[in-house]
């Protein structure tokens, strides 16, 4: 019940009570007053009639007496006048019925007005000749009484209405600050930390609003602090303080995670870049010069990679740098390695280094499934080969030839992808994402497969790099989206699903308009459908991602961020983007059980997400130890081979 309604009830109840109380008192008063008026009226008439009839009584003049009684009765307002001789014989009697117009019968019945009787003696000389008996008519009194009651009722009703109006206005005025407070509280839960500018004059409310404003400020501060400290912690744990590049820990974890990836990034390259003779330079030029040199190297490496997605640059130790590029082929790698060498040689021209023996670069092409140590040692071999070639050179090691001759070559992959797109013949698999207690299925992540000969099914990691290179990734994404929305999601019985959208799709301007018309055509899904985008894409093109998320939400679809925490980005985008959930990158899972830092970091990521009401899901969970730790850290959902392997959708 609203406050106003309660006040209305109280006002009405009070009015009724007051009316009843006042009415009782007033009616009793009036009743008493009218009774005494009636009595004195009757007595006055009796006395004056007695006095004026006395001489006629002495003369035995009945006719005159009757006329006088008639005159008084007809002019006045009486119920009864009776004239008797002293013997009791009635000489004359007049009566009129008590008939009260305009007064309800129940009022006459309920409010008995005793019209008192009065009598007087009629003298006949010294003797008593008779008696006169008078009873006033109560009609007028009843009407007065009734008018009193109705008048009072009108007054009270009028006053009640006025009171209610005043109460209504007052309540609205008083509650205005509370409405603002409510809006503020709601916006806090939306992580909008607005302060209320209008401070009300009512003291209690003013204090409340001030307290609320104070609290809002505090919450905002806390939120920002938490987000900041997590970012700081991550940079401490995974960043090289000198160059601002990633450190060895991060590099190891990232490379492991990438190599274990089954769905993406089939072919990539690991670059090892070495600044030569750092020790000697140190002795010749001093620490500061070395620090400057290393920083400059970092800058150059970053600069060379600006146009390339999904890269990791790390300083491993001393003058050893490493670069992981997730989507690149051998040819492009060679070009890039050459460019790096050339750029680094310029350091000599810029007097950053006093020798032209600057660097060596070794590149090892890798494909997922290779072991960490294998890739690293191949890169090291490449570096040694480069050293043999001479300073400032590079060497690229190709990926080892596939022993399995079933695996198609590059041209064959292109044919496979083009054929699949033309015939829209794809296979959809899905991997379960469970709640951390493994009791509930949160959703299924849809995975793209292509059919091969003899029932062979190609995983995405095998054909996606080729598809991306030849610019067909968008077509594949579109076929998946279309298939899932039009075929799978039509049944309300279907489970919730997540669909990946690749960065390549988003970067093509046609994609967003296709996306919107597709969602419009499909309508609101019968089940929950969420589109996932990798964090690197989100950071690189936040505007397009916003557009995509808005379109999805507009038609009743969800939006989520994959590989959360992989890049060294600030989490500011979470606040504006508000994904339905984030999937913590597999990078943090490898060492989770053994590394307190990783655990702390995953916990912090969860807190940042949770503080924005965003669900957290851990990827590539492989065993129960990880699961146990993740639960302790407050992760909401889990996914990975340890949870469930992909299966046909």
């Amino acid at each position: 019940m609203t406050l106003y309604r309660q006040i209305v009830l109280v006002v009405v109840a009070l009015s009724i009570l007051m009316f009843a109380g006042t009415a009782i008192i007033k009616v009793q008063d009036t009743q008493r007053y009218l009774s005494s008026q009636l009595e004195s009226h009757a007595q006055d008439t009796a006395t004056s009639l007695g006095l004026s009839l006395s001489p006629q009584m002495a003369n035995n003049d009945d006719a005159t007496m009757i006329s006088m009684v008639d005159a008084i009765f007809d002019r006045g307002y009486y119920e009864d006048i009776v004239l008797r001789r002293i013997t009791g014989e009635v000489i004359w009697s007049r009566h009129s019925d008590v008939n009260i117009e305009g007064v309800p019968a129940w009022v006459v019945g309920m409010l008995k007005l005793e019209a008192p009787e009065a009598n007087s003696i009629i003298m006949s000389g010294w003797q008593q000749g008779g008696e006169i008996y008078v009873k006033s008519h109560p009609g007028f009194a009843y009407r007065t009484l009734w008018n009193t009651i109705t008048n009072m009722l009108w007054w009270f009703s009028g006053l009640t209405v006025v009171l209610l109006l005043i109460a209504g206005v007052a309540v609205r005025l008083l509650l205005q600050p509370l409405n603002r407070l409510e809006a503020q509280a709601l916006s806090i839960s939306d992580r909008q930390f607005d302060e209320i500018k209008e401070i009300p004059r009512t003291r209690e409310l003013r204090n409340l609003i001030k307290a609320m404003n104070y609290m809002t400020g505090k919450v905002k501060q806390m939120f920002e602090q938490q987000s900041e400290s997590t970012e700081k912690l991550r940079s401490l744990a995974f960043q090289d303080p000198l160059t601002g590049l990633q450190n060895r820990r991060y590099f190891d974890a990232a490379l492991n995670s990438i190599l274990n990836e089954t769905e993406e990034h089939q072919e990539g390259a690991l670059f090892l870049v070495q600044i030569l003779d750092l020790q000697a330079i140190n002795q010749r030029l001093g620490f500061d010069a070395v620090d400057e040199l290393l920083k400059a190297t970092g800058e150059i490496l970053r600069d060379c990679l600006t146009d390339i997605d999904d890269t990791i640059v790390a300083r491993l130790s001393g003058g050893d740098f490493a670069i992981i590029i997730e989507h690149i082929n051998e040819e492009r790698s060679g070009e890039l390695a050459n460019e790096i060498c050339r750029r680094l040689m310029r350091l000599h021209a810029e007097d950053m280094i006093d020798t032209d023996n600057v660097c060596l670069t070794g590149v090892a092409m890798y494909s997922t499934g290779m072991s960490y140590s294998d890739v690293l040692s191949r890169a090291d071999n490449a570096l040694q080969t480069a050293r043999v070639q001479g300073v400032n050179t590079c060497f690229v090691y190709a990926a080892p030839e596939k022993v399995d001759d079933v695996v198609p070559g590059r041209q064959e992959w292109i044919d496979i992808v083009q054929e699949a797109i033309a015939s829209e013949n794809i296979i959809l698999h899905a991997q379960d994402v469970l709640s951390a207690d493994k009791n509930n299925l949160l959703h299924k992540e849809v995975l793209l497969r292509l059919p091969g000969p003899n029932g062979v099914v190609w995983t995405a990691g095998m054909f996606l790099p080729v598809a991306e290179q030849i610019g067909l990734a968008r077509e594949l994404d579109q076929i998946v989206i279309k298939k899932v929305l039009t075929e799978f999601c039509q049944s309300a019985m279907a489970s919730h699903v997540a669909i990946n959208i690749s960065a390549a799709s988003l970067y093509q301007p046609e994609f967003l308009s296709w996306f919107e018309s597709m969602l419009e055509k499909a309508g609101a899904p019968a089940t929950e459908v969420v589109f996932e985008l990798p964090e690197s894409t989100v950071v690189r093109d936040i505007d397009s991602v916003h557009k995509l998320a808005n379109i999805a939400r507009q038609y009743g679809y969800g939006f989520a961020v994959d590989h959360f925490g992989r890049g060294m980005t600030a989490f500011g985008y979470l606040k504006s983007l508000r994904p339905d959930y984030v999937k913590l990158d597999g990078l943090y899972m490898t060492d989770l059980v053994n590394s307190p830092d990783d655990r702390f970091f995953v916990g912090s990521l969860c807190k940042v997400a949770h503080s924005l009401d965003i669900t957290t899901i851990a990827e590539t969970v492989e065993n129960d130890e990880q699961l146990k730790v993740l639960r302790e850290l407050g992760v909401d959902g889990v996914q990975g081979f340890g949870i469930g392997r992909p299966a046909p959708l």
Partner: protein, 205 residues
């Protein structure tokens, strides 16, 4: 039954107690106290004696008191004193005489129906006057108890008086008290007097 209750009430209420007596003595002297005591004795008369004797004794008792006009006695134009005030101050006008006689006779058991306060004109004095009339029966000729004439006479023998109108004593007293009750209360002329008046009122209810 009702009559007997009223009778007891009257008997109880008009009998004077020591407090009133000593108060009157203090205010008006010993003789005033003696007058009240004599009145008290009068009211203790045997109820069974003939009414004619009661009339005689009561009339004689009060006719001993002085006739004084209200204006000189109470400094008011028309003041109706109670019998106690009347006796204590040893004086009153015609109304005080008539009323004192009326109350005392009622106390002695004379029916209210037989007693009337009669407004008359005293021809010789050319004055409005009041007497107490006693009607043996409702239609009989009344006996007149008057302070101007010490004898109780039949009305037809009072050629010096012209009857104007009669009231039953109770109604008239109450009507008068309604205005005087206020006066007594307001002038705060000793709460005991107020008390007495209230008691006298209550008898007659």
């Amino acid at each position: 039954m009702l009559q007997s209750i009223a009778f007891i009430a009257i008997a109880e209420s008009l009998l004077l107690d020591e407090k009133i007596l000593s108060y009157v003595e203090k205010q008006h002297g010993l003789t005033a106290r003696h007058r009240l005591e004599s009145w008290d004795d009068l009211m203790r008369l045997e109820r069974s004696i003939p009414e004619r004797d009661k009339l005689q004794q009561v009339n004689d008792f009060f006719n001993q008191l002085r006739f004084v006009s209200d204006e000189s006695h109470w400094q008011q134009k028309d003041y109706w004193a109670t019998p106690i005030e009347f006796l204590s101050t040893n004086g009153g006008d015609c109304e005080d005489f008539a009323l004192a006689k009326y109350f005392t006779l009622r106390e002695l058991g004379v029916s209210d129906k037989k007693l009337r306060l009669t407004y008359v004109k005293a021809i010789k004095l050319r004055q409005a006057h009041m007497v107490l009339s006693y009607f043996e029966t409702p239609s009989s000729e009344p006996l007149i108890l008057d302070n101007l004439d010490a004898e109780i006479r039949r009305a037809s023998l009072r050629r010096d008086l012209v009857p104007v109108y009669s009231f039953n004593g109770k109604g008239l007293w109450l009507a008068k008290e309604r205005e005087q009750g206020r006066l007594v209360g307001k002038s705060s002329r000793i709460s005991r007097w107020t008390d007495i008046i209230k008691r006298m009122q209550s008898i007659n209810k």
